[in-house]
Symmetry: C2
Subunit: 435 residues, 2 copies
């Protein structure tokens, strides 16, 4: 029986046009990250399983990892996120590294999920993190970086909203104000994280089930819903209005407004799924009604590095997935038309193989990307191939052209052609390329 | 207990300096491949296991794959090589694709092996393939491409040798001349492939065991050793001297010599491990006595695409691994010194956070990569951080500088400093960058 030509479910083959788009997406990420001084790193796609256990969310570890035993009996996991790995790397050279340490990577990650819009089993994710800054300036910079990347893709600020919240604040509210214990708090935070995925009465029912009878009697439920309905830091319940994190978030929003990032809002329902967040968390939402959903996000996780037996390092980071990004750019018509990298397709006339090969080599010396037709077919068929590949120019090389060193360059889009020496041809092509 | 900071055995963490080197290696590969009209593609790192069974070598499939069952009960394998995947991709769009189809990728691959010099469990490998050309011009182009990549790294032709052989020729010799059957031939080819890893008497013993008594009596053994000792196509045994592939190889070597690639030789012992090769195979050897070993190679595999139930496509390709490449470049002192991508480290003086942030943003607008110190530490400590990171310039920003828009730029290498406006600073930095 013939083998299937399909890739593994939920994963993609990248044909040249797809790969070109991916390279465009990544090159923007790289350019903007490096303009802020972030340095690229990478880690292995397979990690010891214990790295993910208890640091990622339970749902991911128990249901969504690709975990197996290697031939030496060790349990390994295909990475589902980058944060545990980068924390491991930083912990390994805790003393030698220079802080603030700004790192980014664009790893591929795997989660065993039902493939759906915006969600595949294999996806790529920009991860940008800053290690060693406890102050708000780190939050400000990371949100600015995220916003700058969106701007670099051509997004306008009315196309997305950056929603801000704080784990520390919700912890204080649930613990100090409502009197919940740690277990209750963890359960409630996970419930709030899923809030927008369920009907409101269901959410209320489940939330009520978490409160103790005494808490319910003293109106904990109502107080919680009042907080979750707050849409501005100015109308926070009095019990937490002056909490240090409330003030911090106000300051971050003010500072970002000064930098013209006017689409940052407070949203108390933002939790982020991972257990390791310690304070400010944020999420970027698409404002398009067709695609109104969380796209990317991040937050502060000050304790993760210390799990490796070294002193804690204050850290904040975010992730930006390629699948949601592609959906967003498509929805808002922001995907560019990308040209093939090949500048010229050489059509070899008759037996002029050596002359064609020489012309190709000469043009490459002048930094022109040249595909040479080496099939020996008739010229017409060679031109068809060039057209099918979307190459802009064909160059005809026969014995006559080789002897005179004058070659016909044809623009396949306009159909016009002109005859020149190779240097002039290289310069025409470069002009087109940079136009 | 604290978690281990070590990556999985045989895999690497890439800290910024390591990643920078990897990006350099890959950028050279990309640049040269694209100059020949090769287009980049990619495929998922997990593939259905049946894709690798019986196409790769038995040793790899049975002993070296990472194979496991996913949560849905499907057997998946972490890719050990790219050839089966790219064949699958081409088969899936057999009709739509335009031939000659030139493809390249730089995937990471995994093999469960004992880590050693030149061999790790996770490695990257450039794969370049040309689909749809049956003639020798494809062999010639691919070897030229491989050679061009070596040249682009600064290698001289006396640093490496390109060894050429042919599966078709050895098959003809073993089958038609020595009278071996298919099973004997397959076993013998695998033995010859391991020839240089064993002592000569051991090899002779094992080869003799493959021959039948009649074959041994008629001198098959001696004839085989005579062939394997041949170092030139001009001194081939008469029985195969005029075989079409002998003539083809001569022609390839001649054509490459014309293109100044003078380090191509015939070596009948070159087999390449994979079962799918159908004719010409080649391997690049390091000539350094310390590192005299096969580094990269490839060959023609005309039948693989047809395993997916479509018509066969003549194909030839090669792989070039990053670990062996790094060893080679180190051995021959060809690794470049790479600078950090960050151009300027801004030292924030006093409380001038906003001014510093503004200066950073202005410089980024002028395409300068700027890391901003946001720690609020004393200037001396900030400078130390810049030095530790290897950033060439620091820029001092305080309230006074912000008011006058005149900033001190310090060259950390020479220790000299000068005072300018931001535009002039940007131009100084760009001059340094492109120097």
């Amino acid at each position: 029986m013939a083998l299937s030509t399909q890739p593994y479910k939920g994963a993609r083959d990248f044909y040249p046009a797809d790969k070109r788009m991916q390279k465009y997406l990544f090159s923007v990420m790289r350019r903007v990250c490096e303009s802020y001084g972030y340095e690229e790193y990478d880690t292995p796609i397979l990690e010891p399983t214990e790295l993910f256990a208890s640091k990622t969310s339970d749902e991911i570890v128990n249901e969504q990892t690709y975990t197996f035993t290697d031939r030496g009996g060790r349990s390994v996991t295909v990475r589902t996120e980058m944060t545990p790995s980068v924390s491991r790397m930083v912990a390994a050279k805790r003393q030698e590294l220079a802080y603030p340490l700004r790192l980014y990577a664009i790893p591929n990650l795997w989660r065993y999920e039902r493939p759906q819009r915006g969600r595949l089993r294999e996806f790529w994710q920009l991860n940008a993190d800053i290690f060693g800054v406890a102050g708000l300036a780190a939050e400000q910079e990371l949100i600015q970086l995220l916003d700058d990347i969106m701007q670099a893709y051509g997004a306008k600020r009315d196309m997305y909203t950056i929603k801000l919240s704080s784990r520390k604040l919700i912890n204080a509210f649930l613990g100090e104000v409502l009197g919940m214990d740690e277990t209750q708090i963890t359960t409630m935070i996970r419930l709030i994280d899923r809030m927008h995925k369920m009907e409101h009465p269901e959410f209320i029912g489940q939330a009520d089930a978490i409160f103790s009878p005494t808490q319910r009697e003293t109106g904990a439920s109502e107080q919680l819903f009042a907080l979750l309905n707050t849409s501005s830091l100015d109308s926070l319940p009095a019990t937490i209005a002056n909490h240090e994190t409330s003030i911090s978030m106000k300051r971050i929003i003010e500072k970002l407004e000064k930098a013209k990032i006017t689409n940052v809002v407070y949203d108390p329902t933002i939790m982020r799924g991972f257990d390791y967040y310690t304070d400010i968390v944020f999420e970027v939402y698409d404002t398009d009604p067709e695609n109104n959903r969380a796209m990317f996000g991040g937050g502060r996780y000050d304790s993760l590095v210390s799990l490796f037996g070294v002193d804690a390092v204050p850290t904040i980071g975010f992730g930006m997935g390629d699948v949601t990004l592609l959906n967003f750019l498509e929805t808002h018509n922001l995907l560019p038309k990308l040209r093939p990298e090949t500048d010229i397709y050489i059509v070899t006339i008759g037996e002029a193989d050596e002359a064609a090969s020489k012309a190709a080599a000469d043009l490459r010396e002048m930094d022109i990307n040249v595909a040479l037709d080496i099939t020996g077919r008739q010229a017409e068929k060679q031109i068809k191939t060039a057209e099918k590949k979307g190459v802009h120019y064909v160059l005809f090389v026969g014995e006559k052209e080789a002897a005179s060193q004058q070659f016909v360059l044809k623009d396949l889009e306009s159909g016009t052609q002109e005859t020149h020496g190779l240097e002039r041809i290289a310069s025409i092509v470069k002009d087109y390329r940079s136009a």
